[in-house]
Symmetry: none
Subunit: 193 residues, 2 copies
DNA sequence: CACGTATTGGGTCGAACGGTCCATCTAGCA
DNA sequence: TGCTAGATGGACCGTTCGACCCAATACGTG
């Protein structure tokens, strides 16, 4: 398998196995799938980076999910590829990782930059005025849900929905859900169907 | 006064006098001011058209109020001028009225067409899903007003505001003010600031 | 380890909300 | 002259909402 410029020293079937093998084999690069049994790739990446700092991790995923990408970057991944890329592209990404470079699928480059921007500029300019859960509450209410319906769909109690709303009221300078949703629509936080 | 092609046979100081004089003098055309003591021009126009069908009425007003214009057209006015037009334009409008034509100030022509459109197409396509007052309530709530604030600004009781809202809920298929306002925004009934 | 934030949740309380009855008044219509 | 729709209100009732307390858990930062 040295035709690509590197040797495959091992294969793991799940996250736990990957971490153990990384510890014993101490490879230069690990090609890690996001979706894995026992332990997902992002968590495995985090543990590998903590246990074996010299090992580079390239993540491989099915979907260009920005949320997962962000977590992978935070976990210390040195590359992130979507699965529809060619074998040569994967090999290239592994070689780049070994030399300290970062490989990234084109369709992920843009959201990658956005994520880095958020990470770096979070203290100076907070784009996310409301948290993820608060945003979910706003969108559901905009979609016509009552408090109890929001609670059911988010698998939380009505009280928690109200807590999120109370937090939203402060952040969006609203005094009731009507104003909060309207403000969220103006700010582009939620969509109007 | 025949320099303009017609004679002035009388002048009335208020709406009641205008109706009486129209009945006795049976003029070809009446130049009627919208704002008049005793009886406003629109009502006077209505009564003249009922009592003396052959008489044409040209309305004269200070403001290009679409609501008043609509009422005047319904009242049977054959022309509608804003007061900043020239003497010759007024004379022209009177002559046109006498021959059965309709004179209209340019700035009123557009809203006139809109009004005609509404009148003709009202049975087939009801643009106005909510009434004028209901629309006011929706806009104020969209602007951030509470029930009591809406009541204050519209000079009505909170109960009436609630009544309007209840009517709105049925028409817009909403169950609370949040959904009602959002639906109104989607339908373009109210503006988002 | 302490600290802040996010998320989850409980309880209470007064105000607001929505629904259901009802009545009055005005316009426009048949 | 009724009839209908619109606008205006009143009274009542149950539910919901928002504000104000509070606490437990988890997570990341310093």
């Amino acid at each position: 398998m040295s035709e690509h410029g590197f040797d495959v020293v091992g294969e793991a079937r799940d996250g736990v196995e990957a971490v153990n093998m990384a510890y014993s084999l101490n490879p230069d690069v690990i090609l890690m799938d996001v979706s894995m049994p026992e332990m997902d790739g992002v968590e495995a990446c985090r543990q590998v980076r903590a246990a074996v700092p010299g090992t580079k991790v390239v993540m491989l995923t099915m979907h260009a999910d920005q949320e997962v990408l962000a977590n992978a970057i935070r976990a210390g991944a040195c590359g992130y590829l979507v699965k529809d890329c060619s074998t040569e592209e994967i090999a290239s990404a592994v070689r780049m990782a070994s030399t300290g470079d970062t490989a990234l699928s084109p369709q992920l480059a843009a959201s990658m930059l956005d994520e880095v921007r958020k990470l770096d500029m979070a203290p100076t300019r907070e784009d996310r005025v409301v948290t993820k859960r608060e945003e979910e509450v706003l969108q559901l209410i905009a979609d016509g849900c009552s408090t109890s319906e929001v609670a059911d769909q988010m698998y939380i109690s009505q009280k928690t929905v109200k807590n999120h709303l109370a937090s939203i009221y402060q952040k969006l300078d609203a005094r009731d859900r009507t104003q909060a949703v309207l403000q969220a629509v103006r700010m582009g936080i939620v969509s109007l169907e």
